[in-house]
């Protein structure tokens, strides 16, 4: 499975989810697109228009992208601005799992410093290579087998529904 996109934004270390979507908005909508409209509102207001300018954008960062608050709205804020993947040198656990659950690819590579703005990237989940078509460089994707599988499935939901189905069918029906 391959995913392609253009690098629309580059970030430094320790971008926290408060920067991605501020707290005061979190309770004001249950619509995922709402958060995309306010992505990086106080930190980088150009984020949304810049990412939306491409059909498939990719965000590149250094270490510890998505740290801090567990708010999943941070993933909606990125993904629903036409972002297909975030490429970083490391991700904290909660943000990483929130990405997996929403089909936003959290791609870890050892060194993102050579990936430039505007570069065309191809992410190959089968060969676990990230190819930078602009520079010709190839990066190894660091991931467990389980997370690659989840990335290909676009999340856990189908799997969880199957677990629930098996469990419910193993129990006698409840009295009405």
């Amino acid at each position: 499975m391959q995913v392609r996109g253009k690098v629309a934004k580059r970030f430094d270390d320790d971008i926290n989810t408060d920067y991605i979507i501020p707290a005061y908005l979190l309770q004001e909508s249950w619509d995922k697109q709402f958060f995309a409209d306010h992505a990086f509102e106080a930190y980088d207001p150009a984020f949304a228009p810049t990412c939306r300018a491409n059909k498939e954008s990719i965000v590149v960062a250094r270490n510890n992208f998505g740290c801090g608050s567990s708010r999943e709205q941070a993933v909606y804020a990125i993904k629903y601005n036409n972002v297909v993947a975030v490429v970083a040198q490391s991700f904290p656990d909660i943000f990483f799992r929130n990405c997996l659950n929403n089909g936003l690819l959290p791609i870890q590579v050892a060194d993102t410093s050579t990936i430039g703005l505007g570069d065309e990237l191809v992410i190959d989940l089968d060969t676990r290579k990230l190819k930078d078509l602009t520079t010709g460089q190839e990066h190894d994707i660091v991931a467990t087998d389980a997370s690659i599988e989840t990335m290909k499935r676009g999340g856990f939901l189908g799997y969880v529904k199957e677990r629930l189905r098996q469990r419910l069918n193993a129990q006698p029906p409840r009295a009405p």
């Binding site: 270390d13 320790d14 926290n16 408060d18 920067y19 501020p22 707290a23 005061y24 979190l26 309770q27 004001e28 909508s29 249950w30 106080a42 930190y43 270490n63 510890n64 740290c67 801090g68 608050s69 567990s70 708010r71 999943e72 709205q73 993933v75 490391s90 904290p92 656990d93 909660i94 799992r97 929130n98 997996l100 659950n101 929403n102 467990t144 087998d145 389980a146 997370s147 989840t150 999340g155 856990f156 939901l157 799997y159 969880v160 529904k161 677990r163 629930l164 189905r165 469990r167 419910l168 069918n169 029906p173 409840r174």
Partner: protein, 442 residues
Amino acid sequence: MGGATIAEKIVSRAVGRKAKAGEVIEAVPVDKLYFNEVIGPPAVLNFQKDFEDVYTASGKKLQVFNPSRIAFMPDHTVPSCSIKVSQGISLIRDFANDQGIAMYKEGDGIEHTIASEEAFVLPGEIAVATDSHTCTQGALGALAFGIGTTEGENLLATGELYSFTVPETISFRVKGRFQRGVYAKDLVLHVLGTMGEGGASKKVAEYSGPTIDSLDMDGRFTICNLSVEMSARTAIVNPDKTTLSYVEAALARRGMAMTDDLRGMVARSDPDATYSKTVDVDAATIEPTVSLPHSPANAKPVSQVSDPISTVFIGSCANAREADLTIAAKILKGRKVSPSTNLIVIPASRRVYNWAMDQGLLKVFADAGANIESSNCGPCFGKHMGILGPGDRCLSTSNRNYKGRMGSPDAFIYLGSPAVAAATAIEGRVADPRKYLPAGEA
């Protein structure tokens, strides 16, 4: 071969076989699951939308995996600060009532304080909640961490975490007596300063050693709470007599007693457990510490800082329990808040609030000129009860001083202990608390 860490033991107990750090487990059942009113409403809506068809096809009514293991705790912006927040609280209340799930009231307290005070989370359990500071429960010797909305909805259905990587552990061994005016908050800010914001990424921060042994539970909650600011998966303290007497008292308040089953859940790391890294900390060398804008890891001794401060916040899941309010009141007793500073005090729970009232602490704060609010997350969430404007400088006992965290991105947030906060409120600038401590006070 080496022994097991407490984290490995808790996961092993949950899955019924020996689990080692680094392995990925397909499904891990959790013991406790709780929600706030920020993520509760969308998690419930998504659960209803995504799983309805599975229940219908099985001829069953929509039903969570086990209502007695779940709780809803509205705490972030209560009493409600907007129409949408009120709608969200109504939504989770209706759902909780329909499903037979415990629903706490606005003002009962901050979720991570209620969870331990109510003995909802117990030693040896796996607890998850839709908030990154769920790691606070690690002070009980529970393996506790934050999850997102989708994981919350999945857990409502099945009570399981999927594709779970058993975390490795960093051992923080802390020795040395605190200097006068130094508390758990100073220790953890100092640790954040040495580790950096990503320094414990994906790892469990396990705290041990004589300094931790001598800490009360309130101090342990503070240390575990702040550990997520170095991106730790969670933090944990091995349960001891202090832990068990706290839990026994919490159970007793609910008319329950410690049983052999509960005692059997208690886990501790083996002396020969394998750690990914060991960090030795000498607490005796730590001074009262503040973290400067805009990172919790930007720690400096308070003696090097004297910036003017317009707002002081004593509150949050980090530092608003009995021990915290006690020390703040000792410093503020008989003194006045600076005319240039606004002091906001928010006890961490209704129980702490009522206790502080009985003890006369609320009167000390009120006499000093503080604004005392009912229990909630307050200005730490940046949505109500003290939003910072451009140029404002705030000293907060909370856990995050990111740019924009408490309001304007052009405000400045400093983190410190309740003692530093009280001294700062008096002087209107970042102040060393030691000169205000009564003689003989630790």
